[in-house]
Structures are given as structure tokens and as C-alpha cells.
């Protein structure tokens, strides 16, 4: 009987310890499941996020339109998820595809314009997000006076950095979506080297220098 229980214990003990260890690990890591999954997805997988449309591409090269006015009807207005341009900040060594929409899919492939803001040429605020560990990792190198180039499927735009700020992600004073003067806001999680706890955002504000205006009346 004693020998039998010893044999049983020989097999059961490691199993129980294994299960207990797994249970505690699961308990400890459970709150991080989303962060772990999103990070793993970002680095290792290439599957599209659920319930998001496949990416469209309406940009190949920007037409050489740098000023003047464009009729709204004459341009192909990007739909959500479409790649419609490219952004570059030479001083910060940034170059990324520009998408309309800032969902998981878009930010995985490039940087994204918030669809509750506007597109270049619309005369309003353009709010662009990018990940701090990929396309906007060096956003901190952009300083006041630096140029930002945005090529779209309908024209070429240049903006000049006016200032940078670090603000909390929930601070709505960081942007003004009712602005009637065209302005560009780029942001990413801050600090730049942190993947996890990033309640702050690094903002780069820029004013329009050149580029065609979109005439909404037409």
C-alpha cells in the first residue's frame, strides 16, 4: 500500500506542480494577454485584424500638383483602410506609407490618418498616428523648422514643424478637430523605446507650407 502510494506520488507530484505553475503563470500574465497578443501579432504574424476590410491601394506616385485648387469630384477620396500616400521627414529619417484610418491593420503597414480628422488639402486638422517601435520610432528627432513631405494620390504637400509636445493620451487639448486652418499633427507613444506602459504621447505639430487646396464646393 505504502509502495503503491509512493509510485502514485512519483507520477502525480510533477503533474500537480506543472499544473500549479501553469495556473500561477496564467494568472500573472492574464492581464497582459492583449498586449502580448498585439505585440506578437505585430512582430510575428501578418494576418489582418478581424472585422477590418482588406487594405486598398490608390497610391502609386503623386501627381506633380504642388499648388492651386483641386475639385473634390476630381480626386479619388480615400475610403477607410486605403493606402493613399506616403509621408517622409528627412531630418528624422522617417519614411512610411500613409493610410486613411488608424486601425490595427493600417498602423501595422504604415502610419494612419484618423478618419475623424481630415486629409491634406482640406484646410483642417490632419491627425496621423504611427507606432513608436516601427515607423515613428525616430519621431523625436523632428525639430521645429523641419520639413514634412506628404505625397498623396492627388498632390504633393509640404508642412513645417512648429513645435513638439508630450501629453497624456487622454488629453483632448492636444488636438483641435474643429480647426479651420490646415495643420498637421503626428503622434506616437512616448517614451519611444517603451512597448508597454505608455500613457503619454509625443506630438509633432506642423503648419502647411505648400500643396493644392481641395475645393469642397465642386
Amino acid at each position: 500500500m505504502n509502495r503503491r502510494s509512493h509510485t502514485l506520488g512519483f507520477f502525480l507530484t510533477p503533474v500537480v506542480y506543472f499544473l500549479l505553475g501553469y495556473f500561477f503563470l496564467f494568472l500573472a500574465l492574464y492581464p497582459f494577454r492583449d498586449a502580448i497578443a498585439s505585440t506578437a501579432d505585430l512582430f510575428f504574424f501578418n494576418k489582418p485584424a478581424a472585422a477590418e476590410e482588406p487594405m486598398k491601394n490608390i497610391f502609386s506616385a503623386a501627381p506633380d500638383v504642388k499648388s492651386g485648387s483641386l475639385k473634390l469630384r476630381s480626386i479619388q477620396f480615400p475610403t477607410y483602410g486605403a493606402r493613399f500616400g506616403r509621408i517622409s521627414i528627412p531630418s528624422a529619417k522617417i519614411g512610411a506609407d500613409l493610410y486613411f484610418g488608424d486601425g490595427t491593420n493600417q498602423l501595422k503597414k504604415g502610419v494612419g490618418v484618423y478618419n475623424g480628422s481630415s486629409i491634406p488639402g482640406y484646410g483642417q486638422t490632419i491627425l496621423i498616428a504611427g507606432h513608436n517601435h516601427t515607423f515613428f520610432h525616430t519621431l523625436g528627432q523632428a525639430k521645429a523648422g523641419d520639413k514634412i513631405q506628404i505625397d498623396t494620390n492627388y498632390g504633393k504637400y509640404v508642412y513645417q514643424v512648429s513645435r513638439t509636445r508630450i501629453k497624456n493620451a487622454s488629453d483632448a487639448s492636444a488636438y483641435n478637430l474643429r480647426a479651420t486652418k490646415e495643420n498637421l499633427i503626428l503622434y506616437t507613444c512616448y517614451p519611444f523605446n517603451e512597448i508597454g506602459l505608455t500613457p503619454e504621447r509625443y506630438y509633432v505639430y506642423a503648419d502647411k507650407v505648400s500643396g493644392p487646396e481641395i475645393d469642397k464646393q465642386e
Binding site: A28, A35, L42, H133, A174, C189, Q217
Partner: protein, 185 residues
């Protein structure tokens, strides 16, 4: 409750949004957006729609066109929603009673369906309107996104506590075993 209030606020904005959808001309769109921006007046008080909602409407309308019939139907829904708001007599959309909120949400859902869109409320209480392919027409998410793998502090410290407890238990076990062995010798 707070989420439901936001939901009602959004639903109202949505109705305003789709009521202004142009059938053909872009100039109509401009007039519609202007009307959207004007919000609604309740008992002499101006109730404004969030700028992000208006911009989403403007962007969607710039890329999509609806038929006159769709527009007419949606305008009917928005008028019904406006009437509901005025009847409730509240100037703060967060203070609308649950019954009125439900009315507005129903009107918004019907309006979205008419435009071949689907309104869904996620488990996080966020409202999203998308087409059959999943293309987003509207979302009431925070304009500022998580641009890193974000986590929040509460579960972080909860996890630290659990890990700390495990560590304490392990050390206690080791110490106890060590003491027992000494006793044996």
C-alpha cells in the same frame, strides 16, 4: 451607464450625420455638413455634435454617394431623433433618459441599415458603423490611439502582486525544507 450615455450621444450624432447625406452634388454635401455643424437647439440652448463625428461624416460623404430615397428615409429618422431630443427637453445629451436614448439608438440603427451599413456596439461599449466588407464609416473610439502595445496600471500591479505572492510562497517553502533537513541531521 456612462457608456450608454455616450452611446446615445453618438447615436444622435449619427442620425444627424446621415440625415445630411447628399444624393448627388457635392454642393449639397456642403449644405448638409453645415446643417450638421449647426447641431440642434433645445429650449433655446445649442447642442453641438463632436467635431470628430462631423469630420467622419464629411469624409464618408466625400467618398460615398447615396440615393435620394436613402437620403429621404434617413432625414425622416433624424427628424424623429430631433423630436425625441426636444421632447426630452435636455440640453446635455448625457442626461437623456434611457427610453429616449433607446429611441435614438433605434433610429440610428435604422438609418445605418438604410445606407447599407451596420451599427454594432462592441463589448467595450464602443459604437462602430461599417459596411459589409468591414470598412469603417464611423467609430466613437478615442481619436488618440494606442501606438505601442499598451497596458493599464491596475492589471499591471495586480500581476505584480500575484507574482510577489508566488515568490514569497516559494521562498517560504525553500526555507521550511531547509529547516526540516537541518532538524533531520
Amino acid at each position: 451607464m456612462k457608456a450608454f450615455k455616450r452611446l446615445a450621444c453618438f447615436a444622435f450624432a449619427l442620425l444627424l450625420l446621415f440625415a445630411m447625406i447628399p444624393a448627388r452634388a457635392a454642393s449639397n454635401s456642403d449644405a448638409i455638413i453645415s446643417a450638421l455643424k449647426s447641431g440642434v437647439v433645445v429650449n433655446g440652448h445649442q447642442v453641438n455634435i463632436p467635431a470628430s463625428y462631423i469630420n467622419q461624416a464629411e469624409n464618408y460623404l466625400a467618398a460615398h454617394k447615396l440615393t435620394d430615397e436613402q437620403v429621404t428615409y434617413i432625414v425622416g429618422q433624424i427628424n424623429a431623433a430631433k423630436a425625441s431630443i426636444r421632447k426630452a427637453g435636455v440640453t446635455d445629451l448625457h442626461k437623456i433618459d434611457p427610453a429616449t436614448k433607446q429611441e435614438i439608438l433605434s433610429d440610428a440603427t435604422a438609418a445605418a441599415n438604410k445606407a447599407a451599413l451596420k451599427l454594432t456596439v462592441g463589448s467595450d461599449k464602443k459604437v462602430k458603423i461599417a459596411d459589409s466588407k468591414g470598412a469603417v464609416a464611423f467609430s466613437d473610439e478615442n481619436p488618440i490611439k494606442t501606438t505601442g502595445a499598451d497596458i493599464n496600471l491596475v492589471p499591471f500591479f495586480a500581476s505584480l502582486t500575484v507574482l510577489g505572492l508566488v515568490a514569497v510562497l516559494c521562498i517560504a517553502g525553500i526555507v521550511k525544507q531547509g529547516l526540516l533537513k537541518r532538524k533531520d541531521t
